[in-house]
Structure formats: C-alpha cells, structure tokens
C-alpha cells in the first residue's frame, strides 16, 4: 500500500512574526522557515507504518514555490521514498491546494493520505477535509491514534468532548493531531541520502487543476496590544486588586 504525505513550508513556529507596515502581509524574507510541525507528525506516522510493513512506499508532496524543494528534502530525509512538487509561484489557498493534492493522490494510486491538521501560518485547518470531499473518501481528522488492518483504519480523534473512535474504509484521508506521535530527529546520513532521492516537478496544468476563486486579502494588521499589567508582591495585594475590579 502506498502512502501519500503532504508537507508545507511555513515560518518556523518559534519565530515572532512581524506584520509588514503596509499591511500587505507578514515579513517572510530572511525569516527561518521549516516544515509545518503537524506535517512532521504526518510524515512520522507514515514512516512508522512502513517500518511495520503496512506501507510499501511513501510519497511526499508539496504545493508551492521553488523554495519548497528544501521542505521535500526534509520529508525524504525522514523516510519518504520519492516526492512530487506541485510547483506554483503565486500564492494559493486551501481549495486549490486540495484540488492539486487530490489529483496527485489519484494519479499515484495511493490508499492512505496523511496531512497535518492545520498549517501554523494560515491556521485554516481545511485542506485534508477538502481533499476527502473532492475524492468522496472517508476522513478522520485530528487523529491521535491510527491502526490499519484489513483494508480499514481505526482512528481515535481528538474532539472537544474527549476522544472519538471511527472505523473507516481505505482509501482514506487522515489529518494528524499533536499527540499522534513524537517525530524523530533527522540523522546526517539520511539527510545526505535524501539528496539523491527523486523529486518530480509538476504544474497545476499538468494535473488538470484550475485554481478556484480566491478569498481576496484586503489587509493584514497587528492585533491590538494588551495594556501593560502590574506586578503584585503578595496574594493579599492580588486578591484586593481582583476584588476591586469586581472579578472575584
């Protein structure tokens, strides 16, 4: 069984982002980028399934500009066998990315598709669900446990009320939550080996995808700052302050 894993290049999660003064976006030049943390978890899960003999081949896929090649190299170092780069120079949104990913999924004849539950840049949390809808396949989002056996997956999902378990028929789409696994550290020999693994570059046109109408970005602003707080010395001082404001 082939597994597909999507990876997205995002600003590193430790970076304090800055909004551009003209409101056109956030500063990305010269800022550290990494693989979206949820996608590392997706990658790790696919690799573990391969180690258990349930997956025979892992294909990493990304949709984005030239710099996304380094993201795919990281996925290859993780253990992907090969990669597909859907090269798009302009900014694309979730539905268009989902159309491209669904096309790759079909073309490659994959049976299971792991994606992160959300990307930490746009925080949209849409792509996996959209891919599943476009392919009319089952989805298990926010997965914290995945068992695959006999053409089915049993997935535990993190939902507001607790943990929900679903049984889904393969092929299926699974999006990964933080607690699914602990991604491994990359080893230098694997990083070296990854340089030799193949990356196929395709365009949206090659996949027969026409970009869906986009949400127009009007502006990006810095959120209002909270006013400076006060440091209190004792519990009594804190209690007095909170009582004074009618909070307790």
């Amino acid at each position: 069984m082939k597994a597909l894993v999507s990876v997205k290049r995002v600003i590193d999660y430790n970076v304090r982002i800055q909004v551009k003064p003209d409101g056109s976006g956030v500063v990305t030049d010269g800022v550290k980028h990494s693989v979206n943390p949820f996608d590392e978890i997706a990658m790790e899960e696919a690799v573990r399934l391969k180690e258990k003999g349930k997956v025979t081949e892992i294909i990493a896929v990304t949709v984005g500009g030239a710099k996304c090649e380094e993201t795919l190299r990281t996925a290859l170092a993780f253990g992907a066998d090969r990669a597909v780069h859907v090269k798009v120079d302009e900014e694309i949104q979730s539905l268009t990315a989902a159309q491209a990913l669904a096309a790759v999924f079909k073309k490659e004849g994959t049976e299971i598709f792991f994606l992160g539950k959300q990307a930490i840049d746009d925080d949209a949390a849409q792509t996996g669900q959209m891919v599943a809808a476009l392919l009319d396949l089952p989805q298990a989002t926010f997965a914290s446990k995945v068992d695959i056996d006999g053409g089915k997956a049993t997935v535990t999902r993190e939902v507001d009320a607790g943990l929900e378990t679903l049984e889904i028929d393969l092929p299926a789409i699974i999006t990964t939550d933080l607690r699914l696994n602990e991604p491994r550290y990359l080893k230098l020999p694997d990083i070296m080996k990854a340089k030799k693994k193949p990356i196929e570059v395709v365009s949206l046109a090659d996949l027969g995808v026409t970009a869906a109408a986009a949400l127009k970005r009007v502006k990006v602003a810095t959120p209002p700052k909270r006013s400076k707080g006060v440091m209190v010395k004792t519990v009594d001082e804190l209690v007095t302050a909170l009582k004074g404001k009618g909070l307790i």
Binding site: K117, D123, Q126, T165, R217, V218
Partner: protein
C-alpha cells in the same frame, strides 16, 4: 438579502452553547437566519435553537444515520440544503465545525473562511493567522455562497427570543456513504463549567509537575466556580486529558478572568487566551513571557501561593 444557514451542532438532545454566538455573528450580517439540526431525533435541540433571538426558522432533519454527527454523513445533506438558495453557511469553530465545514466548502467549490473573529459586512471578515499574531481581513466572493466557521471566543451569545421561531421538519432525498462508522466516544465527564463558555478559567502548566499536584488547580477552580484548563506541556506530560488544552491547537477561550499558573506563556498558549478580559499569572520565573500579557503578575512558588489564594478568595 442574505439568507444564512447555521449548522445547529447538537449532542444527545442538547444544542451546543456556541450556536447562540454563531447566531450573533450572523445577525451582524442581517437577513434571514435559519438553523438546521441533524439528529436521529432533533426535537429538543431544534426547540433550543428556535428560542435564540435572531433565528427566523429552524429546520429539523431527523434521520437515524445523523446520530453521531459524522462529517461525511452530514456534509451531503448540508450541500443539498445550501443549494436551495442560501447566501451563507456558518458553523461554530468547534472540532465538529472544523471537521465538517471544509468538506461542504469543497463540494460547493468555494474557499472557506476559517475562524471569523469580526464581521464587517456580508462578505468581509477578520480572521486570525499565525497563532493570532496577525489579523487578516478578507473579502469572500459572494457567489455561489460564503462558507465560514465562527470563532466562538470573539462573539457574545445571542439572547432569548421574545417568541420562538417556527420549526420545520424536512426530509432530504440524499444517499449517505457507509464507509465511515462511529465506534465510540470516550467523554471526559466533568461537573465544572465548560472551558469555552466559562466566565472564569484556572489553567495549570508544566510546573505543577504531576497529575496529583493538579488538585490544587481543581481546588482553586472549584472555589471560584471556574473551568479548568491546561497548557500543552501539562497535557503532554499526562497530568490532564487533552481536551483541557488551551492554545492554538487546543481550545481558544475568552473568559472574564484567566489564571495562568505555572505556565511560561509560549506563543501557542497565548493564542488561546489573548481575548481573556483579565489575565493573572503566577510563576516562579520573573522572566516568563506570560508576564508580558498578564494584567496581574505574581512571582513565587505556586505550591504556597495557590493554596493561600484559595483561602483568601
């Protein structure tokens, strides 16, 4: 004129409390506001939806398959309904809404607007990006329809209606998939206020150091009639279950009063509490980033300060 369809998330006959907030977001647009309830028997939840001020009609779709609110089951039914002339389809930004709505958007061929935090007009909205460190204003195409989830922490709940809206039972001729089966739900039973609607929340972090030590957090919360939350570190360390996690990847909350106890204040945690009215931080590290956003900060050992605080409130 706008015609807004709100997905009336329910479980076991109880309408999700967030729906009244989604109705308020819809009221900012104006027009007709319909709430649709999918259940095996949605009578109770439909009556609750009909009692929310601003709702003009409730649609009740009873079908055995709707029992567990699975996204793949509900989606084709919403898509069929949406195509009957709705300008907007809204859901709460809960795990249910986030799971379901992108499927609906993809089937309708539209980009979804996630986590609306402000409504400027029928197609103009603000939403947070980069863990809430930037606010994006978007203009969504009006055609064929606007599909969006509403960030519950950003809206007040609509009040009670003077007169209940009419409830219309409908049947939809839609074939539902069988590829997804509900197995079980392990719910965390709690007598405490629900995190996302609590007016006061007490959260603990890694510094609690054990599951047993969390009892001082519960104890303070009970005294304050507060909900209990946690940082990711506390969840990952196994001190508390994951549904208590507050932050970018957990729950986004906006209580009147928030206590961050033994929480350093990573960007991802702050994303979940930025809209709290008053933030109190107790931490032994005076350099902890939580103090940059706290309205009141107290430096010291939480194991002595928290019991003292409990005895004095």
């Amino acid at each position: 004129m706008s015609k807004i369809l709100i997905i009336g998330q329910q479980a076991e006959g109880k309408l999700n409390s967030g729906i009244a907030k989604v109705v308020n977001a819809a009221k900012a647009i104006g027009g007709e506001i319909h709430v649709v309830v999918f259940a095996a028997d949605g009578s109770a939840a439909a009556a609750q939806a009909a009692a929310i001020d601003g709702v003009t009609k409730v649609i009740q779709i009873d079908r055995a398959e709707n029992d567990h609110g699975l996204a793949v089951i509900v989606e084709p039914q919403i898509v069929a309904l949406a195509k009957t002339g709705y300008s907007h389809v809204f859901a709460a930004g809960t795990t249910f809404g986030k799971d379901l709505l992108p499927r609906v958007a993809a089937k309708l061929g539209v980009q979804q607007v996630s986590d609306i935090m402000a409504v400027h007009g029928a197609t103009s909205f603000d939403r947070p990006i980069y863990a809430g460190n930037a606010i994006l204003t978007v203009e969504a195409p009006a055609e064929p329809c606007v599909v969006a989830t509403i960030r519950l922490a950003s809206f007040q709940a609509a009040g009670d209606a003077a007169a209940a809206a009419p409830i219309e039972k409908q049947t939809l001729d839609v074939t539902l998939p069988t590829h997804t089966r509900f197995v079980k739900l392990e719910a965390q039973k709690s007598e405490r206020p629900e995190l996302q609607s609590a007016t006061r929340v007490v959260s603990g972090g890694r510094a609690l150091a054990s599951s047993e030590n969390f009892s001082i957090i519960y104890s303070l919360a009970d005294k304050l009639k507060a909900g209990v939350g946690a940082s990711r570190a506390a969840v990952d360390s196994g001190y508390v279950p994951n549904d208590m996690q507050v932050g970018q990847t957990g729950k986004i909350i906006a209580p009147e009063l928030y206590f961050a106890i033994g929480i350093s204040g990573a960007i991802q945690h702050l994303a979940g509490i930025k809209d709290a009215r008053t933030i109190v931080a107790i931490n032994k590290d005076p350099e902890a980033p939580i103090f940059e956003v706290a309205d009141y900060g107290l430096v010291g050992d939480l194991f002595t300060l928290v019991p003292e605080l409990e005895s004095k409130v």
